[in-house]
Symmetry: C2
Subunit: 465 residues, 2 copies
């Protein structure tokens, strides 16, 4: 059970997962195109909706006798009530505490028995549960998972110790990591009104107060078939999956009058902000700089695709401008890059980062990286460079989707973040449509210094402010 | 109708009031001691609570045939739901739209007829309505005000145009004033979780969406006798006021199960932050630096009083260290000072500010002012200086309370912010108890650079970040 973080956290290695999902790869490949014919005969990706509102996505993949079963809820930390941060992630933990029908750890035992794996994760926009099992265990997984969609039993005896588990998780991942502490405050500074400002795991003092009543209220409100997406990927027959879905999840009534998903939006931002953390645990200074940019769901036509390509051109790989210029050519940085969190229900983040190498100063690294943005804003990119970036971006997606679990995650995350199957499927074509001028335009429009938030992670004596 | 702001805004002269209340004086004299005997014979300040929960404070003041009638609701912008910022202030405007019993502007007409004045204001922690009238009009005022506590009638015809009025108010006070724009973002940066982060007037995009339904829901939820304080100051007989209160407000039933007032609290802050606004409308650079500090309600024993004295010693007047050193002695600043917003339901703000004079740089001004804090944190203050500061602080309160309306405001604001009458009355004694070491301690404990938020208001070419 874990909560998702932004790339900096992932890169620092602090995102721990129980099983070896290609999470980091996914973070950099959050959207993938999928032309049905590419997956082989009889293996079209389908998307149906049951009468109770459950969306069912089947991704046939016959290469190995294994199936990935995921249920995605359209609820994450950004849907939490003010003052109750952490409840989405806490509930994710509590979902492993058993139901009336299958008490205790019966579900997990069953998974172990068939040699399967399971995990769960919470992000700003979704909460997901999955199992990877042999195909003949699928019906059993669906039965268990459908059962815990509505029949979770929570007692104070299981809630209180699990809260301590979460607090310990926060301690080890956030409080013990100055980079994470800084990241939290940088996000709280970047988002002035939107709940993305709050950490997914929750603020410590609010986690401490979460209780059974909060968990049950959140569960009853958000865990419903008409707020969920079932994704089954693997060695399955689509019709059979549909029949099983009807037989298991299909029996759960929809929750009536489900409210529209709407969060407080950001005001127009007028200021440049800097956040600085000096900490004795930091030996090497580094910076990150963030902007709020449109997501795939919120962007106007081709805007998100253009931002994605901008991130790729600037800093997505060793072929990118930042790497070539600042790391290789000028030799200033030990690490540097750019990242766009495109899959998000609301307006999202664009991040650049860097740390100096040898005798280079952090100031020089930051200036050199920022100069690459300015160059694109003023001079744009050339068509050949853009073409190569498109190829890299698309290739990375193709690589990511070669993994069954990644595929399931890509579809689940995109749909749970408000995109449609059609949008996911047409992504590759849209990327191909982006022009060099569109890339320049989004750089100019969104990456303005006067609306950025820079954070400095520094040793105690090294003050920038 | 207006919303209250922090001192910087008030000092910039942008807080407009319909009648000439000594608001600025009050901002610097938000708490006053009151020994009953000082107000003259038979004129004890009393505090009773009606059966329906309405707290009734009577402040006899026989010097002139005039009475100040105020109703204070324990609800302000910090009690708003996320995404609905501005609703407390918007409702304040709508409270002048008439009731079933007294349609349209009948209430205001009545006030004008008797030669009275009226106003209303909204802050983070309270909303208040008042009239200043001849004593024989008091019963009529109470009748009208009690009526609009529960019987407000709102139609879309009055709501929509009034929303435009509020948007225009925001345009003229905030959007047209770079200092206000910066202040909004500095508060949104300073408070990472608490709703003090949101402007009292509301974020523009959220005001635009407020409607009749929102206003009515807010009104029904918060406007109740058991969530209000009646303050009557002036040429009145206490028993008569009590009888009139029973006769008018006393008839309104309490709202049952009124929820506890609890807002999301701040997490522990680990970072230093800087917010910068460059704007062509700015000709003279200036800075403000803020910290979160305890309020009179939240502070431990004598903490708030010590912070109050710290503000006075540092920058409350021309006798303060900052003024004497930075303005007079070093001649660096055209203005400089310190301010503590002590009356607040939750943890509140401490602010220092300055602007350079002549050829001095903003950097030099900031360094000189900050040095005064560091001196107190390390060397403390001497007893004589402290004694003088106590005298000044107390004298200023005595001066403020010489005005009937100020008195009413002091009691109303303090009680609506969660203090008790006993606390208000014992304030002077508590201030006298503060030791020099306690002043040093609060400076050291709360005014740490590593948890501060500095904001720079600069002309376009003058970058600090």
């Amino acid at each position: 059970m874990s909560h998702e973080r932004d790339p900096a956290a992932g890169r620092n290695g602090s995102t721990v997962r129980r099983i070896g999902l290609p999470v980091i790869a996914l973070l950099f490949a959050w959207l993938t195109p999928l032309a049905a014919e590419e997956t082989g005969g009889k293996s079209e990706i389908t998307d149906i909706t049951l009468d109770n509102g459950l969306q069912v996505v089947v991704i046939p993949d016959r290469r190995a006798p294994v199936v990935t079963h995921m249920i995605w809820y359209r609820v994450g930390s950004a849907d939490e009530e003010a003052g109750k941060t952490g409840i989405a992630h806490f509930l994710e933990h509590l979902m492993f505490k058993g139901t009336a029908t299958y008490p205790g750890t019966e579900f997990s035992q069953k998974i172990a028995e068939v040699g399967g794996q399971e995990n769960a994760f919470t992000s700003y926009d979704y909460t997901a549960y999955f199992q990877r099992v042999p195909p003949d265990a699928l019906e059993s997984m669906m039965t268990f998972e459908a059962d815990r969609m509505r029949n979770l039993i929570l007692t104070d005896e299981v809630v209180a110790p699990e809260r301590d588990v979460v607090l310990e998780e926060r301690r080890s991942r956030v409080e013990n990591d100055p980079g994470s502490l800084l990241r939290e405050e940088a996000w709280a500074t970047l988002f002035q009104n939107h709940p993305y400002r709050n950490p997914v795991i929750g603020w410590k003092h609010e986690i401490e107060k979460l209780n059974r009543k909060d968990a049950i209220a959140f569960y009853k409100r958000f865990y419903a078939p008409n707020n969920a997406i079932l994704v089954v990927a693997g060695d399955v027959d689509t019709d059979e999956v549909h029949a099983l879905a009807e037989k298991t999840y299909g029996k759960i009534p929809a929750v009536p009058d489900f409210p529209l998903r709407e969060r407080p939006a950001e005001p127009f931002q007028n200021t440049k902000r800097v956040v600085e953390l000096n900490d004795p645990r930091v030996s090497r200074p580094s910076f990150q700089k963030r902007w709020i940019v449109p997501s795939y769901r919120t962007g106007e036509a081709l805007e998100a695709e253009a931002v994605d390509l901008l991130a790729e051109i600037l800093g997505g790989s060793v072929r990118s401008r930042i790497y070539k210029q600042v790391v290789v050519e000028q030799g200033l940085a030990s690490q540097a890059g750019a990242y766009y969190q495109g899959t998000a229900f609301d307006a999202t983040t664009f991040t650049i980062w860097g740390a100096p190498r040898g005798s280079a100063t952090l100031e020089a690294v930051e200036a050199a990286i920022t100069a690459e943005i300015d160059k694109i804003s003023s001079d744009g990119v050339d068509d050949k460079e853009l073409e190569k970036a498109k190829n890299r971006l698309i290739k990375r997606m193709i690589f990511a989707r070669d993994d069954q679990a990644s595929m399931a995650r890509i579809y689940g995350a995109s749909l749970a973040s408000g995109e449609t199957i059609a949008q996911v499927n047409s992504w590759q074509d849209k990327v191909r449509e982006v022009t060099a001028d569109q890339v320049r335009q989004v750089a100019q429009k969104f990456l303005q210094d006067s609306r950025s938030v820079t954070s400095y992670l520094l040793p105690p004596a090294d003050r920038r402010l």
